[in-house]
Symmetry: C3
Subunit: 249 residues, 3 copies
């Protein structure tokens, strides 16, 4: 893909976000992308190739939101970013179906559209080709069912694990805004039989090997073990439930 991009635009700057997405894991890819986008230049073109449906009827698409662009399969992997877009782009979003072969490689395989369609289209975008030239406008993009936002119900939150990072930290869908009017020392987090009291400020707030809850670098509640793997110790994986409650004793 990098060779294809540099053949079309030799002065492109290419950055790898991750090569550690589990095969076919569209939700994980969506999470990692959404976590990275805000830290990139607003004019960046983001290309995603987690594409288990390559060769099927799923459409190759490009999306423009404000100055940013996104290129990838229409399989939901861009849905979290799309959902977050209005706030950053003023709601002005255009999406097209990449159906103009003149912007693809001459020979398109059925198994690697990242190389044959996404990369050349992204390279043409980087040269200033308007997104409308790459294909027909579409309105009906695939989106994951909007994930129920975690929230307080009386004095309890029932959240879920949405990501395990490479250190084994267990990231939840529970955002830090839910704790703004609470005393963090009174929060109790429970998962898989384990229970920790208090939300700490940093891994270093506990001893090595000790389990803690904290707000991770994505602004979400996270279970972690200092210099260890919470996912391994607790046997947790994506989709598992995490309970938050208050202990006011």
């Amino acid at each position: 893909m990098k060779g294809v991009i540099l053949t079309i635009n030799p002065s492109a700057t290419i950055v790898d976000i991750s090569h550690d997405i589990a095969p076919e894991n569209i939700r994980q890819a969506a999470f990692v992308l959404a976590s990275a986008v805000e830290y990139f230049p607003t004019t960046a073109i983001h290309v995603v190739v987690v594409d288990p449906g390559v060769g099927s009827a799923r459409r190759p698409i490009a999306i423009r939101a404000g100055e940013s662009s996104f290129v990838g399969p229409d399989n939901g992997v861009l849905s979290q970013v799309i959902r977050d877009m209005p706030s950053t782009s003023g709601g002005h979003i255009r999406a097209v179906h990449l159906n103009k072969p003149e912007y693809w490689l001459p020979h398109v395989s059925n198994t690697f559209h990242g190389r044959d369609i996404f990369a050349p289209c992204a390279a043409h975008l980087s040269l200033g080709v308007p997104i409308e030239a790459l294909g027909e406008s579409v309105q009906d993009l695939i989106q994951f069912p909007t994930q129920q936002a975690a929230r307080w119900v009386q004095d309890e939150i029932v959240g879920m694990v949405i990501h395990i990072d490479r250190f084994g930290n267990v990231v939840t869908n529970i955002g830090e805004e839910l704790f703004q009017e609470r005393d963090r020392a009174q929060i109790v987090v429970q998962a898989r039989g384990a229970k920790v009291r208090g939300i700490k400020n940093a891994y270093a707030a506990v001893e090595r090997g000790q389990l803690l809850a904290l707000i991770g670098s994505n602004g979400r509640l996270e279970l972690a073990i200092r210099e260890g793997s919470a996912a391994v110790r607790l046997g947790m994986s994506e989709g598992d439930t995490v309970h938050v409650s208050l202990d006011i004793d």
Copy 2:
């Protein structure tokens, strides 16, 4: 190596093709290189450091074919590319033995010629140094025994596995041109006791977890499992035999 290249040519654009070649696996490196070259700019300089014989009598070499250059050990890793070159370069190939120390790092180790010889020579090439300046011309490059091209014998092909990719797809030496005048629905592919009928167009043509045969992104017959690993399920690895026959019932 990147530091060495950028010290000599600060405006070089450097792209990693793969860090996943199994240690010492020259054939796998040759396959991955040959699969990538056609997608890079024609003026690219390709450097290969799969070099189990570093420090022995094996020569460091550079090859120029058309506008493209290749730098690496003379151990056969460049042989597949060399074999494919005439068609793209008009047959005009020059090879030199990298034996001019003025283009190397001042201190050359016996264990890492990638850093000490290949990287600086490649950087000098990128600055316009002619390949002839880097060493004496050589004609007797090491080549792997030319692999018997797979072909139809009566109504059967006996092919072999030449690569397992990181998804566990099993790539063979059977090129798609062998199926141009055949009915793909009638093709039967057998390997390790498994049998699939028909060559599909894409992974998505079958259900999740189902085995299929298709033409992969390298234009070769491939055994795959949708969202799974065919190599693990079938217990296959490089060098294994794959049978293709016709079922005209």
Copy 3:
């Protein structure tokens, strides 16, 4: 981090040195950094994010030595480079505590200072901001206890393993200068019950699968198995002892 850097300095050239440091392994990171620095342009800015104490009282720091800069946590990871600096920089070293938030990202997490502090400070350095602007001068940087340099005591060296590379080669703290006035054929290296005679020039000096001692690409005595893993075969890891003696029979 790359997005942050390119947002501040779009023309920065970014090179990854390693993503294979074991989690929290500060000493391994220090070794890999010290091995790489001399091969980079002298004006390079090196950023290190092996930072188990992120969020604690450990300071974020930047160091200038000659034309080179280093940005990372004050946890000792830069200590080996610092110790090696006087020879290359004429002893002129300045260190600052990164405590000027105007050079950070607007929102700083407690868990990822690499992204929120180190990357933006490094990017500002690359634009010519003087290191003194980034924070107050510090003199009391954390350093590992200076490792006892390996040396001959009578006719014996007692050294230790400081690194296992990804091929399983066992790298020691025994520098090649210790063998300059010795007959390398008479050297005997012993570790974990294994014994090899002679220091070879290259992996290729022995048959496949055979254990050897040689001077590795870092200029240090190394135990290796040609096309195999010495660390696995001998069961060795960092901190293990290696004995060198003479056999003058």
